[in-house]
Amino acid sequence: MRPLHPLLLAALVGAAGLPGLRAQDSAAGRPAAVLVSGPREGDRAPDFSLAWASRDTAGAVPWFSLSSQRGNVVVLAFYPRDFTSGCTAQMKTFTEQYNDLFGEDVVVVGINADSLETHQRFAQSLGLPFRLLSDPKQEVSKKYGSADQNGYNRRTVYVIDRKGRVAYTNLRFGALDPKAYSSLKAAVSDARRN
């Protein structure tokens, strides 16, 4: 039997799952694929440092750096835009169910390309008890496979364990999906125990 031509082999591998493409259940339960180039569960979470805003302040120093959170469980919530319906639903749910979903010792941050001023207004409007990080060039979002091609983030969630490793990923977090929240809650609970 003749060996497959390298280009054909490459294409077949690509069709099955190009590097950076990972099969995932679609919202409708059918197999689908999403463009993913972020770290996988068990990988060391890529470090980053970003300016942040909260309901009380914008642009305070020091910036948020992931490596400085070593010893804490961290939730990174990448989301498209401030003040949009889906993002409002997600952040409102995080806020209203904060203790149930996360617990006081967990560090939660939201990340997208919006400015610090917009972040502060958004955080104030919902009374967010956590910080929003500004990633205007989507450099961090790209590292985590969460940047859309339109300059917005896709809605993804990462849980980082106390040692700085990725403990959980949801690369298609459904802002209205109760299952997404229960799965996140379980992942955070596991990470807190370990």
């Binding site: 190009l18 319906s85 896709r154 809605r155 209205l176 109760p178 299952k179 929240y181």
Partner: protein, 172 residues
């Protein structure tokens, strides 16, 4: 032979990318117009299962995903009421509560205070939310009598009426 393999290889490579890319956007933009509407079963507020299959593919259906805290949904409500009045029983109106930050009691209180004449469902398992790829509250999907999605939209000021008239067969 080599050029055939090259063309095949390139075609497969491109096909794999085309297959992958649209799904990225779908998660936030809802169902594609022209897609077959999903047939799911969702409970009502009393926990009774309601199967969409009794309407999908048999008559036009409008599905709205809503919550009591959703200001866009409240803005949309009067126009949905008007639409329902206009089409009468030619179309089924389903209002799926997304259950995020909700309780059945809170929804019942809201219904007592607001005139919501649609069939109310309470999707605490997220079945229809995932199947319809609901990106946000106020998400409206209109399905024609053949069971095809003819409209999706989000927001209090979305213009669903032309698609609704078309799906319901109203000529004016």
């Amino acid at each position: 032979m080599t050029s055939t393999l090259l063309r095949l290889g390139l075609a497969l490579g491109v096909a794999s990318l085309l297959f992958a890319l649209p799904a990225v956007a779908q998660g936030e933009s809802g169902l594609r117009v022209g897609a077959a509407a999903p047939v799911v079963t969702v409970n009502d507020l009393d926990g009774r299962p309601v199967n969409f299959g009794q309407w999908i593919g048999k008559k036009p259906v409008l599905v709205e995903f809503w919550a009591t805290w959703c200001s866009n949904c409240e803005e949309l409500l009067p126009r949905l009421r008007e639409a329902m009045k206009a089409v009468g029983n030619r179309m089924e109106f389903l209002a799926v509560n997304v259950t995020v930050n909700q309780t059945p009691e809170r929804v019942r209180r809201y219904l007592q205070e607001h005139d919501v004449p649609f069939r109310i469902l309470y999707d605490d398992k997220g079945t229809s939310i995932r199947a319809f790829q609901a990106p946000a509250t106020s998400y409206v999907v209109i399905v024609d009598a053949k069971g095809r999605v003819v409209y999706t939209g989000v927001g209090g000021d979305q213009r669903f009426e032309p698609a609704l008239r078309l799906a319901a067969g109203i000529n004016d």
